[in-house]
Subunit: 440 residues, 2 copies
């Protein structure tokens, strides 16, 4: 990219797990970057040079003294002077699982209301949506607010693919795709994004192609994980450990291995399939696969509880004290969005169990009131079971000899299949886990 | 493997796509090999040095003059002198889709009836089954016929993974796994199989682990393909070409791309999921994923016909002449087991279309009587549509300019997404295909 292009002003709207590292990456490449977020608390923290995100693998250095870096809650202090506006706001689902596009609409509206009508701005949506949403959102807003697409502004879609907590899959190390009706703009954006990732960015054609690609990626992943969960349940019933089977199958050239567990969380995989299901219904071909996958993955907390009850034997859940290790939806982050550990903990608590939760990444407010917060797992006692829910390194590498001392009976349930079953059994633990046969 | 071990006598029961190349591979490695098959016709062909299989990529040289090679229909001429007996017989499904284990039972019975009771024989099943079948089959036969497992004979399971027609995935180039209750025998077999494949063979533990691995591989593949087929239908409805989306998604590190098509055929993928579904029902956790995948893949011929009718426009199917290119279930082989081209052709024919079929690999008897056999596609005329059903190289590389001359109207439907849409459109063809939007 030429120095002329590096004079571009880029605004990133929404400074979360995706937006903040994206803004920092463009700033590091020499662009002038403005970060916009509705949360004044977040903007204050950033203003003080503090990273508001909890991610053990992220190393977000906030360049508070840089002249080419600014953060604000005020769209008017950012959008009019921007060449490129990147929107990275959440796209959750409503309680009925229909897509909640409110954040996308409201951020897009604020951007359009603040556009410099004398210039040209390229607006890029990164939030996960289903095909057609980007176009519909901006066409409607354009009709309502005036600025015309192709004249005052152009639109594009470039799905984020960051995997928080996964050190190798940050903004700088994931391949990107960009879709735009305007090929020239699409190729310019591909060049632009290529400056912040080693894996390159490809222009793939229309907006809907890029939108669909992102949706499809997560739909596929949800189905992949659902199959491993289903296999865990079916195979354990015949005394076969699913992990041995998956390891054997994985020797085949075209097999892809996924690990079963207590469920799927986060902002993408439990959400995007509902976008796809919604789209498939609209076109009259309702996805049975994606519905089956969602049902399977969402049933995992209750499947795990059935399993746990067998492990506890004569001990009733209602008189059990259980230490839940980990609460966030994936290792090395504090993000608890859609975490299956919540439902697992709440179901146990509803059954009368006394549930203590230790998660070094989750802030105090993150643990529901029905569960008890634990600050130091070594200081507990009288546990009837230890239940590993999130495979933070700090949890996997606990001093398990010491942890035995907090147990009434050394029973561990590996909800993520990250512990070495043979090792634990050799050390006197009774070992259960997702897909571990109870009788074999 | 030591020369002493190479003195082993290996019998292969069932000389089909798997058994014959396996027998030849062991013979080539210096073992004494006996091939057994119930078909006297096949044994006669082999006796005359003729390969009875139709597979363009296979190069089976029959060593008729070798003293360490013998083929026979007589179990008693093979089993008593064998150290290892490998059973590779088909495992189809009954019309109600329940597993048909008749071939496995009957071959196993013939083997056990012929065992040398003074010696020790290792019996290896390679046929695809679901977990528990190998053990149950031999335990029942042992009870019935006398020879005891662990004494007169031992059992093991080593699933075949050959991909016929796929030059890179023959017996010598696929990784193998073997399961046996007897670890020593399991490891001996892993060594033995490692002599015939560059990719090695691993002992993976119990028989059921190896049985489940094979089942799971094909269950996963069926689901993978089903998702791409479902996406083809859903996305084409919104004017997006699924292949563009899959190409974009495929830039992500953990995406795995599969091509949509007219359906899934062959002896494994349309069959093994029913084994899994049957098992899942037995344990009280019926697989919704696998059922949804089967429904999706089995519905593809009728989905394709809906699509075709739109392409034909005012032309009724009942007055259309259609040239079906390819009939076998996959490229470069003549195998028509479970080929979706059969249902596609028959459905078209039932709707009154005149369907001509050209498949250079399929023998005359393979084409159902309701369809007409075509010996030379260039010699036909008056076609209303050309429908590519199997992507044999010979089909993909037809002289398409010449093919245009056999058409009333140059309309091509790519049922395998192997043709270059842009190229065909530039040459004046109207182009349809699985997942190609009709209006875009």
């Amino acid at each position: 990219m030429t120095d002329e292009k590096k004079s571009l002003v880029i605004t990133v709207v929404g400074l979360g797990y995706v937006g903040l590292p994206t803004a920092l990456a463009f700033h590091e490449q020499g662009f002038t970057v403005i970060g916009v977020d509705n949360s004044s608390e977040k903007i204050e923290m950033l203003g003080a040079g503090v990273d508001p995100l909890v991610d053990a693998t992220a190393d977000n250095k906030i360049p508070i003294n840089s002249p080419s870096w600014k953060v604000t809650t005020d769209y008017l202090a950012a959008i009019p002077e921007s060449d490129i506006v990147i929107i990275t706001v959440p796209t959750p689902t409503f309680p009925d699982k229909s897509p909640n596009l409110d954040y996308v609409r409201s951020a897009s509206k604020s951007v359009l209301e603040s556009l410099n009508l004398e210039g040209h701005t390229t607006v890029v949506l990164e939030s996960t949506v289903y095909p057609g949403v980007t176009r519909k959102t901006f066409v409607e807003l354009s009709d309502e607010l005036g600025p015309t697409i192709g004249d005052i502004f152009d639109i594009a879609y470039c799905p984020e693919r960051v995997s928080p907590g996964d050190a190798g899959r940050g903004v700088s190390s994931v391949a990107r795709v960009v879709g735009s009706d305007n090929e020239q703009i699409g190729r310019m954006l591909a060049d632009l994004y290529s400056t912040i990732t080693d894996e390159g960015c490809q222009y793939v054609g229309g907006i809907e192609v890029a939108e669909a690609a992102k949706m499809v990626e997560n739909v596929q992943r949800d189905i992949d994980i659902a199959l491993s969960n289903e296999l865990a349940i079916v195979l354990s019933q015949i005394g076969v450990d699913v992990e041995e089977v998956l390891a054997a199958a994985d020797t085949k050239w075209n097999f892809h291995r996924h690990t079963p567990g207590i469920g799927v969380g986060g902002h993408c995989i439990p959400v995007d399939p509902y976008y796809y299901i919604s789209l498939s219904k609209q076109v009259g071909h309702t996805s049975k696969l994606s519905i089956a996958a969602r049902e399977m993955n969402e049933s995992m907390p209750s499947e795990v509880i059935k399993d746990i009850m067998i492990h506890l034997g004569n001990k009733q859940l209602s008189s059990s004290k259980i230490l839940l290790l980990g609460f966030s939806y994936k290792p090395e982050v504090g993000d608890i969005r859609e975490t299956p550990a919540r439902e697992l903990g709440l179901l146990l608590s509803k059954s009368g169990a006394d549930v203590l939760v230790w998660d070094p990444f989750v802030e105090d407010g993150g643990i529901p009131a029905e569960l008890r917060n634990c600050n130091d797992p070594y200081q507990e006692d009288g546990m009837d079971m230890i239940l590993l829910a999130t495979a933070h390194n700090e949890i996997v590498n606990l001093d398990w000899e010491k942890m035995k001392e907090v147990c009434n009976y050394p029973l561990i349930y590996d909800g993520r299949r990250v512990l070495d079953r043979e090792y634990f059994e050799s050390k006197g633990w009774k070992f259960g886990g997702v897909g571990v046969p109870i009788f074999d």
